[in-house]
């Protein structure tokens, strides 16, 4: 019996963090609203969830468009379910030497990582504040971060600026709404994710990078999802705000 809803923004292939979190949330009885850019990818995840007896709805959206985010939440509202879990999982790590970078590229990073997160958070908080508070609080908002959120490295000026901005905003939201019962957490993914994005990264660079990491050297999306779920389950007397995840042999 589905009692509440989860919204996962930034869902692509099943083999990715967004897809894995969506499936896990659905397996735990949430009606999952998956938001992403590509209809076909979302459909694949929805049909997998439904096959396994869960509930899911696909919403094609561009996370940087306020109208799309409005539409997503109005679809959620129509279900009448209280919103217990939000995961904001967008952002694309596009490396570029700084002097070859440009404003459009940097702006794109900011819009995907921060602006979209802002739009989603405001919608989510406005709804979650009406949820009844139990020992787990009123609900969770989880953000996917990166090691770039903590460290600016060459080639990643635009991406790390945006990810660091997201991290600061997540902190600010956590401090403001934690006392009101909303659990806000930031997950730092430090390492290569063994998912569809990396595997298909052009010019064979993704496969090359995965190969160099060796066996067990990259994060598995389904395992990452378990940590997201763990955060969502935490009782409000012991909340994590920031969690870092890396493969055992990643140097850091």
């Amino acid at each position: 019996m589905t009692k509440s809803a989860a919204v996962i923004v930034g869902v692509g292939e099943r083999q990715g963090i967004g897809g894995a979190v969506a499936c896990l949330a659905a397996a735990n009885g949430l009606h999952v609203f998956v938001g992403g850019r590509t209809q076909a990818k979302l459909d694949a995840i929805v049909s997998e969830i439904q096959r396994d007896g869960g509930k899911a709805t696909a919403v094609v959206l561009d996370c940087t468009k306020p109208a799309d985010i409005d539409r997503l939440f109005s679809i959620v509202d129509k279900s009448g379910l209280p919103l217990s879990l939000i995961v904001y999982n967008t952002g694309r790590n596009i490396p570029a030497p700084f002097l070859e970078s440009n404003r459009a590229l940097e702006d794109g990073h900011w819009r995907r990582c921060v602006y979209g997160a802002f739009l989603v958070s405001q919608h989510a908080i406005r709804r979650q504040l009406h949820n009844p508070q139990d020992t787990a609080g009123r609900g969770s908002i989880l953000f996917t971060g990166a090691s770039a959120s903590l460290r600016g490295k060459p080639l990643f000026a635009g991406f790390s600026a945006a990810k660091a901005a997201l991290r600061a905003m997540a902190q600010s939201i956590a401090r403001e709404f934690g006392p009101q019962g909303i659990h806000v957490a930031h997950v730092v993914i430090d390492g290569l994710v063994d998912g569809a994005i990396v595997r298909s990264f052009g010019a064979g660079l993704g496969q090359l990078a995965l190969g160099r990491k060796g066996s067990g050297g990259a994060l598995l999306p389904d395992e990452v999802a378990k940590s997201f779920w763990m955060l969502h389950q935490q009782p409000r007397t012991a909340w994590t705000h920031e969690l870092d995840l890396r493969p055992y042999k990643e140097s850091f």
């Binding site: 790390s160 401090r175 052009g202």
Partner: protein, 280 residues
């Protein structure tokens, strides 16, 4: 460019390879240009982007650089204020009205300095306005403005400054940061995201351009600045902090100058500054 999403998965790898190759080629060109440029032995200037009144961080840094004998470009939004600063400094100063949120305006500043025949010795990015607000009261426009003003302007200034400095083979680029860059407090979401973004930009640039002899540093101002901005808005607030309870712009400017003067074997990337009795 808006209609063609930049984040489509196809071609990313090839684009990166292309960028890296272009960068290598440009590095060769930079090396050639550097030799020519050094032969020119052009005079050096300091640039302060975001200089307001004489008694603020920007104004004080401009005065400090001028005191050390550098011609100074004092760039800011408020023409009246930057002219007052330039007047106080004297002949060494040039006031340039600039809107940090407008990339063209930043491009014009650097084009003008190049036309005037100066190499860039010191460039300071000192832009930012902190307006606390409850998260649900922030509009998307406010968030975007905060990013454009504080962080995107940092990208623009860096792009122009580093292009020139890369040719020169020397130069210092300093960013004024805030404690919000390290910690997003309740009520400061818009300011904190922009300042945290700027800080990470500074780090990435320091790691990328440090080996070329370009010093990039980030100064964290943790406390209230006893400058004209706050004096006018809330003088009582400064008085309440007590004697030396707020940062003195001239003292901050001395630190900027010291960081600029550091020997390449001993560079600071990040330095935090706060009054002795600040609670932190």
């Amino acid at each position: 460019m808006q209609n063609k999403p930049l984040d489509q998965d196809k071609g990313l790898g090839w684009r990166l390879l292309g960028d890296l190759m272009r960068e290598q080629l440009n590095a060769v060109r930079h090396k050639q240009r550097r030799r020519l440029r050094q032969a020119l032995n052009r005079p050096r200037a300091a640039v302060v982007v975001g200089a307001g009144s004489p008694n603020g961080i920007g104004g004080a840094v401009a005065r400090r650089a001028a005191a050390a004998g550098l011609p100074v470009y004092v760039a800011g939004r408020n023409t009246e204020k930057i002219q007052a600063t330039a007047k106080l400094i004297g002949d060494a100063a040039t006031a340039v009205t600039l809107d940090a949120g407008d990339p063209d305006s930043i491009a014009r500043l650097f084009a003008r300095i190049a036309d005037d025949g100066y190499d860039l010795d010191l460039v300071v990015h000192n832009v930012g306005a902190n307006l606390p607000r409850r998260f649900l009261d922030i509009t998307p426009e406010m968030l975007e403005r905060a990013w454009q003003q504080d962080a995107a302007s940092g990208f623009e200034v860096s792009r122009h400054a580093l292009k020139a400095m890369s040719d020169q083979g020397f130069g210092t680029l300093l960013f004024t940061g805030a404690s919000a860059a390290l910690c997003g407090k309740a009520g400061f979401a818009a300011f904190a995201q922009a300042k945290a973004g700027l800080r990470m930009l500074a780090q990435a640039l320091a790691r990328e351009f440090g080996p070329q002899g370009i010093h990039v540093a980030h100064v964290i101002i943790d406390g209230q600045v006893d400058g004209d901005r706050l004096r006018q808005v809330a003088p009582g607030f400064l008085d309440a902090l007590g004697e030396e309870g707020s940062l003195d712009p001239a003292a901050i400017a001395d630190i900027y100058w010291q960081v600029h003067q550091q020997h390449p074997s001993t560079w600071t990337h990040e330095i935090d500054l706060r009054p002795f009795k600040e609670n932190w």
